[in-house]
């Protein structure tokens, strides 16, 4: 009888291979279209809303990059100050004075969430399309223009771009730079099967009429961008992404900020899963793929962490006891003959999976490399592939705990 743990490991390998093959197949069939996008024929009117809370260091740069966009029909750049306590308001005021397209709004009181400021700003938009840009993000000059062509398909409700990390000085930033590139590439792959599950805050554009119809962002949700995307998918609208449109954003530059951000993302993820649970396994891409994908990621992630902790703790304890007794018995603490190098089926599957994942990682990075990327080095890529991703199951467990304890805050 095969051990239960072996069956669990084989199941994990199966799921892992399935997604690698899925991404691989989609990539092979569409590799010539990775960077392509429909030509813009109609000049949709557009307003961009920027929620801002205590972003004095970056808001100026964000406004300037928006002013620098080469999309002709960008009517308004609405900066919503969510009652900042730093100098953000005055900085925005100066830009609003200088540039007529820049509009300064201030929420009546601090909403406490980006969704609140975004919804507030959306009330002042009367263009065909509404875009959102985070106050610490910097869209490239032609990013918005090159996203517009997708809206010619009447079923497309939202379009997003490649989110890349702006600063790559610190190690944690370099790891995120690798991660963001892989996410951007994967999101594009998912776009070919209509399964983009998030229109992230750094740059996303929606049809204004649909945005209103769906009552905008859910202010109770910590990941309002995921929630709105799922809302659109649940109504069978399509979400697109232009990999060639790039926006640079400031990623957390210390562990604490990174940890807090990831917890927020995951608690928001739980909120969204629970909100749409009735659609699970139903027709449509949300019920048949996106939602099951999220749920299985959660279950497998937490189960994996549990197994890892259990097995690791047992091994450590046996090693500790054996070392203690060995020292007392004046015998070798570790002998070569105890090292088992005999491979097995799990090692074969594991090695194949790691190699394929590494290949996928390098493939994704090769599509989004720039001069700065060379500085990142192989070390960051390997650290990302073999260490960074291992932190995720523990983030999932903490997020679950925080969700259950109702500790939900920005």
């Amino acid at each position: 009888m095969i051990e239960l743990l072996t069956i669990v490991y084989l199941f994990y390998a199966f799921i892992g291979f399935y997604f690698l093959f899925l991404y691989g197949l989609v990539y092979i069939r569409n590799k010539n279209e990775i960077f392509s996008y429909p030509k813009t024929i109609k000049n949709y009117s557009l307003s961009i809303v920027v929620p801002c809370y205590n972003e004095e260091k970056s808001i100026g740069g964000t406004i300037e990059s928006l002013l620098d966009l080469n999309y002709k029909n960008l009517k308004k750049i609405i900066i919503v100050d969510d009652c900042s306590t730093d100098n953000s308001f005055n900085i925005i005021k100066e830009y609003a004075k200088k540039y007529p397209r820049v509009m300064l709004l201030k929420t009546p009181k601090n909403t406490g969430k980006a969704a609140g400021a975004k919804n507030y700003g959306a009330k002042f938009v009367n263009t065909e399309l509404i875009g959102f840009v985070d106050a610490d993000s910097y869209p490239e000059k032609d990013s918005v223009k090159n996203m517009m062509g997708f809206f010619q398909n009447k079923n497309v409700a939202a379009v997003t771009a490649s989110i890349l990390v702006k600063e790559k000085e610190k190690f944690i930033e370099r790891l995120q730079a690798v991660e963001y590139r892989i996410i951007a590439f994967t999101r594009k792959i998912l776009g070919f099967i209509g399964a983009i599950y998030v229109t992230p805050g750094p740059l996303a554009i929606y049809r204004k009429n649909l945005f209103e119809k769906l009552k905008g962002f859910d202010e109770e949700n910590l990941t309002e961008d995921i929630e709105l995307t799922w809302h659109l998918l649940s109504k069978n609208y399509r979400v697109e992404m232009n990999l060639a449109s790039q926006v640079y954003t400031v990623a957390p530059n210390n562990f604490k900020a990174w940890y807090k951000q990831r917890i927020r993302w995951n608690v928001g993820g739980i909120q969204t899963i629970l909100k749409y649970k009735k659609i699970f396994a139903k027709r449509g891409i949300l019920g048949s793929f996106v939602l099951p994908f999220f749920v299985f990621s959660w279950v497998l992630g937490i189960l994996g962490a549990g197994i890892l902790i259990y097995r690791g703790a047992r091994r450590l304890l046996v090693h500790y006891l054996a070392t203690k007794y060995s020292i007392a018995a004046q015998t070798a603490v570790l002998t070569l003959r105890e090292i088992n190098l005999a491979p097995n089926i799990l090692i074969f599957f594991g090695t194949a999976f790691i190699l394929m994942s590494l290949f996928y990682t390098l493939l994704a990075l090769s599509y989004l490399k720039d001069k700065e990327f060379k500085k990142m080095g192989l070390f960051s890529v390997l650290m990302y592939s073999f260490v960074y991703v291992l932190a995720y199951p523990f983030i999932l467990i903490t997020s679950m705990y925080k969700y259950l304890k109702k500790k939900r805050s920005w």
């Binding site: 093959f21 010539n32 279209e33 398909n153 209509g194 060639a244 054996a322 015998t331 089926i345």
Partner: protein
Amino acid sequence: MPKKTLNSKESKNTKSYFWQALVLTVIVFIIGIFLGIAYEGNRLEQINEYYVLSEISLMDALALSRLTDIDLNSGIMNCEVLIQANTNFADRIYSEALLLEKYEESGKLTEALRLAHTKYDLLRTILWLNVINIPEQCKRNVSIVVYLYEYDSEDLTKKAINRVWSRILYDLKRDVGNKIILIPIAVDSDLTSLDSLISRFNISSYPALIIDNEKVFLEIKSADELKKHLK
């Protein structure tokens, strides 16, 4: 940069990707599992070959023991030959057991190696019985060390103790060489003959060590301490 039309994209049948990926994964998995079973089967074949050779050695040692009564007094055979045959056999199955244990640890798909382990335990039980029957005059300079342990124990303390005892006995064997016949046997092999043999010693817990079928140790401190109890 090539520009595309929306129509070409919309025409793609996205559903087929999911099915194709599933079929591909199933194919890779089936091939992988079969290769895995074949690989483990190869190891089993290797162990079985060793086992047959060990069986021949054991039969040889048994035959020698039978001859003992007849030939010892007539001087046709001396004790050294008899002890050497048993020691060689014990050493042989000891090293084979180490290999088997490694294979078994990494074996994930078949139970055949577990059965091979039981077969080896039976072989070692027969060896133990055989050395018990060796005339005392031949065992004057040789100690019989039987190491009894629980192979399937989930108790972490026992696992750690087993590991350390195994190291101590390895050191002992290395130090004294042919002066001991070391016979490690897993007590949870479900062998009636082994259970009956062990019941003679009133052992309350495992691991346990029996030296010269007289002294039972439930605790050992070091290889040096054990040396004091050898002949």
